[in-house]
């Protein structure tokens, strides 16, 4: 296992990398030479929307004298309100990144030997189509799986469905927000969605449980968060780490990791026993409240104290604080919530706490989002797959309503319920996003075909048979952004500048691949603009206006029950299910029950990870502007612990996990901002892909160290905060 961590996952051929290498200049600035607009003078401002994360903020790119100059927020856009986050502002670094993929690559030797050759698009796509057909002939089209993250995957999904495979998954469910969505569906019959329907702007009291808004730069949320803070809203932050949000909190609860559910139950105990809940709301919309209340009786603050480390008086005070401001008290559902294995139930407890406070459907709680009605393009019907989805056989995880990436990985490894022989991976770095890299690599070794489509040579690209270089968002059209949000809108992504090399947009790749697969009939349109214009016209909107402004806003819909939003709940009872017969029937706790976390080995620290505002996943570390903001990560260690270990900030250590896996060298950040029993990393660093020359070996990756995970029994999510590390002197390793 330790050998794996040092394994060279990828080396794009010298021909590719060196020929592509940016001439080393002493002065490197970020103005990027343009292809398309080269030679034109003056400043051109072109609206589009951002792709640095999944929030998809409206952006306006400025091209000055033919060179990409800067990107600013589109003032018309309700998501960003004219202001992008640092990643969006640094988006031109994605264009000028010298480590970008430039041309299709085909592997020439065994996987892992890191031998590549450049290929033409025709050659590469023929290669892929031929092998896809071969797999189809031997195992059926279902034996191909698509991993796809973000809007850019739309057309590849289309090609895949046309090909006949139902196996399409994204890590955003089983590795990220899945448990939250399940917990809320079980309670309210609806999800919080993305962008989340949280009315932070109007909240009087905001409760963040492990959610580190501000470090996690989901633009609208952070803007609303700042507004709430500026207004003096009461903030309660629960986190083992003194996050940026914690520093602004009225109450900071330094919770013992993995015990949040105990705290939630104790809070609800206080609110129920002190009758602080919204009785009218519960009576009107609630189901099974009596059984729910009865089950909370033992969950006193005194019971929770030894579990959570939060003293009973603080638990009571914060519960009363929440009740004081209800229904404008928002207990934030979080986003990445795969922590301990009890995640769907913990998320359900958050939903229940919100229900007690009556915040769902209320101002300052959860609003009711709306979207524009933009008809789909009329495609032929997809062939019906002969086999069911492979990822969740026999509904092993009965409440998984989206496909499980790890389920597809399991099927690939075991060949059960049927073999998976080909993976197509679009814009997601599975080696950094899925837990246990060894399992992923073993699964890859079972494949007949691995295709990776991306803009940078990610770790997963290192294992691919074929790597296809995609144009970045500033160089391409994409599917329309029609989002469920506070106010409906439709937004357009359009090219600002030409691709600098032989990169192609995803729609072109998907369409070309479909042609090679003999599925040309599924692409009646010739050009993406034709497709987009059709949909926009069918929606009764003017495509020219959309191109001009970047987006068109629709009429606002009522946001709250009080102003006319329908108070309907998609649960079996049609009500907010305080007690869940669905769960009971499936053999789970109908009201969440607390299970203490498993302790780590003595002397080891629980490994926690999170986000930095300047990076997205493992995708932006080679963006020179963003890497200039944060070149590497550091391991946060409690200052007292660091003193005891003889470490100070800046010292280099390696992290060694319970299975003996050793990380890259990483700097210590000795700080008073974290509990003594855990350490913290910003996710996405410690790249092992040699193609990412700039990011290679900078900092350490949590993904390397997450060899263990705990699967959520309800929905198959993989909890990752169950790994423990020790700090080893760097020179000893």
């Amino acid at each position: 296992m330790p050998a794996l961590s040092r394994r060279r996952f990828l080396k794009i051929s010298a021909a590719t990398v060196l020929a592509a290498g940016v001439a080393s200049r002493v002065t490197r600035t970020f103005a990027a030479a343009a292809g398309a607009g080269a030679g034109t003078s003056g400043v051109h401002r072109i609206p589009t929307f951002c792709d640095l994360c999944f929030w998809k903020c409206g952006a306006i790119a400025s091209v000055r004298d033919g060179r990409l100059w800067k990107i600013e927020g589109n003032p018309l856009d309700p998501l960003c309100r004219g202001r992008l986050c640092p990643r969006g502002t640094g988006g031109i670094g994605a264009y000028s990144d010298p480590d970008r993929l430039r041309t299709p690559l085909i592997r020439t030797r065994e996987r892992g030997e890191e031998k590549w050759r450049e290929a033409t698009w025709d050659e590469a796509l023929d290669y892929i189509a031929e092998r896809m057909q071969r797999i189809k002939a031997a195992h059926g089209p279902e034996s191909l799986a698509l991993f796809s993250h973000g809007l850019g995957g739309t057309f590849l999904k289309h090609t895949f469905k046309a090909f006949g495979s139902p196996n399409i998954a994204a890590p955003s469910f089983a590795q990220c927000r899945g448990p939250r969505d399940v917990g809320f569906r079980l309670t309210f019959g609806e999800e919080v969605g993305s962008p989340e329907r949280t009315d932070i702007e109007n909240a009087q009291c905001l409760v963040l449980i492990g959610s580190h808004l501000g470090e996690n730069m989901h633009n609208t949320q952070v803007q609303e968060f700042a507004t709430a803070i500026g207004r003096g809203a009461s903030l309660i932050v629960v986190d083992p780490r003194f996050s940026v949000a914690a520093s602004k909190a009225k109450f900071y609860l330094p919770i013992k990791p993995g015990t949040d559910l105990a705290l939630l139950l104790a809070w609800m105990h206080v609110i129920v026993t002190e009758k602080l809940y919204d009785a009218d709301y519960v009576a009107k919309y609630g189901y099974g409240f009596e059984q729910f209340a009865a089950s909370l009786v033992p969950s006193t603050p005194e019971w929770a104290y030894p579990q959570t480390g939060i003293d009973p008086e603080t638990i009571r005070a914060t519960a009363r604080e929440m009740a004081r401001y209800r229904p404008a008290t928002l207990v934030h559902p979080g986003r990445h919530v795969n922590w301990n294995g009890d995640d769907a139930q913990r998320s359900r407890a958050i939903a229940l706490l919100n229900a007690l406070l009556g915040s769902w459907g209320r101002e300052g709680g959860f609003y009711t989002p709306a979207s524009m009605d933009v008809p789909d393009y009329p495609y032929p019907d997809y062939p019906k797959p002969a086999k069911p989805k492979v990822d969740n056989p026999d509904h092993r995880y009965p409440f998984a309503h989206e496909a499980l990436t790890t389920g597809i990985r399991d099927a690939t490894l075991t060949g059960q319920p049927y073999p998976i022989k080909g993976w197509l991976v679009y814009a997601t770095n599975l080696l950094q996003s899925l837990p246990n890299q060894a399992e992923t690599i073993k699964a890859i070794q079972q494949l007949d075909l691995l295709v990776v489509i991306d803009v940078i040579p990610s770790e997963i690209a290192g294992w691919a048979d074929v790597v296809l270089p995609e144009s970045i968002y500033l160089e391409r059209h994409d599917e329309l952004n029609v989002e469920l949000f506070r106010e409906p809108f439709v937004a357009l992504r359009q090219p600002v500048i030409a691709s600098p090399h032989d990169q192609k947009p995803n729609w072109w790749i998907a369409r070309k691949l479909a042609e090679k697969l003999g599925l040309g009939a599924f692409y009646p349109w010739q050009d993406i603009e034709e497709y987009l214009a059709y949909r926009v016209k069918e929606a009764g909107l003017d495509f020219a206006v959309l191109k001009q402004n970047g987006l068109i806003r629709g009429p606002r819909q009522p946001l709250y029950f009080a102003t006319g939003a329908p108070a309907a709940f998609g649960t079996p009872s049609g009500k907010i299910e305080f007690y869940s017969p669905q769960l009971e029937k499936a053999g789970f706790d109908p009201v969440p029950k607390y299970v203490p976390p498993v302790a780590g080995p003595p002397g080891a620290f629980r490994l926690l990870f999170g986000r930095a505002p300047v990076h997205s996943f493992s995708r932006t570390q080679s963006n020179r502007i963003l890497s200039d903001m944060m070149r590497e990560n550091a391991v946060w260690v409690n200052a007292g612990v660091a003193r005891r270990l003889g470490l100070k900030s800046g010292d280099r250590v390696c992290l060694k996990n319970q299975d003996g896996v050793v990380s890259n060298r990483i700097a210590v950040k000795a700080t008073e901002r974290i509990r003594p029993d855990c350490v913290y990393l910003v996710h996405g660093f410690g790249h092992t892909s040699r193609g990412l020359r700039h990011a290679f070996g900078k900092g350490a990756g949590d993904a390397q160290l997450i060899t263990r995970y705990k699967t959520d029994a309800l929905m198959g999510g993989t909890a990752m905060n169950v790994n423990f590390v020790t700090l080893e002197p760097a020179e000893a390793v």
Binding site: L84, C85, Q223, F242, P613, V614, E672
Partner: protein, 179 residues
């Protein structure tokens, strides 16, 4: 006479560095260099530390040692708003001003001259906000004229507790932090 100042609300600031990124692209600041940056100051011990996050830059001091020590007049106070600027064509790169600035706000541009924050005077003269202020997603940054009692910045400084950096260095800094 205008007196330009920046007023930054540390309560709202999350330290996201958008100001730094925006400065980079707006002013073409080379990789590896900063005209502005984020400082985090933690006081006290876990579990009750205090954290102040600040977006920092040249303080455009009213008593600027960097200007006083410049042998060529390259470092100067601009007539508009008291902004401290460096004329690149006058700078010989003696680095005296770098040593003179208690905030370490200046640096040697790879092209040899001294560079630093200009309060985006090129934008301000067009009626725009400095790039950092204009992008800030938390709206924690304010720029304006201290001489105008109606300005945002005057009102904020009147209404809210604030501090400037290293007042003991005696430079009369003009970037203020609301607490």
């Amino acid at each position: 006479m205008a007196r330009y100042v920046m007023v930054i609300d540390t309560r709202r600031c999350v330290g996201c560095m958008d100001c730094v990124v925006a400065c980079k692209t707006e002013n073409n600041v080379p990789e590896g260099y900063n005209r502005d940056w984020i400082t985090e100051e933690v006081r006290g011990a876990y579990p009750r530390p205090q954290l102040e996050i600040r977006s920092e830059r040249c303080n455009h001091c009213a008593n600027p040692p960097c200007v006083y020590c410049c042998p060529t007049g390259a470092s100067h106070v601009h007539a508009q708003g008291g902004v401290v600027l460096v004329t690149h064509e006058k700078c010989i790169g003696c680095k005296g001003c770098l040593a003179a600035c208690p905030y370490n706000a200046r640096f040697i541009h790879p092209d040899g001259y001294v560079d630093k924050c200009t309060f985006c005077l090129h934008r301000v003269t067009q009626g725009l906000q400095p790039a950092c202020v204009s992008v800030c997603p938390t709206h924690c940054m304010h720029f304006g004229d201290l001489e105008d009692p109606q300005s945002d910045v005057s009102q904020l400084l009147q209404a809210r507790a604030h501090h400037a950096l290293l007042p003991e260095a005696g430079c009369q800094p003009h970037v203020f932090y609301l607490t």
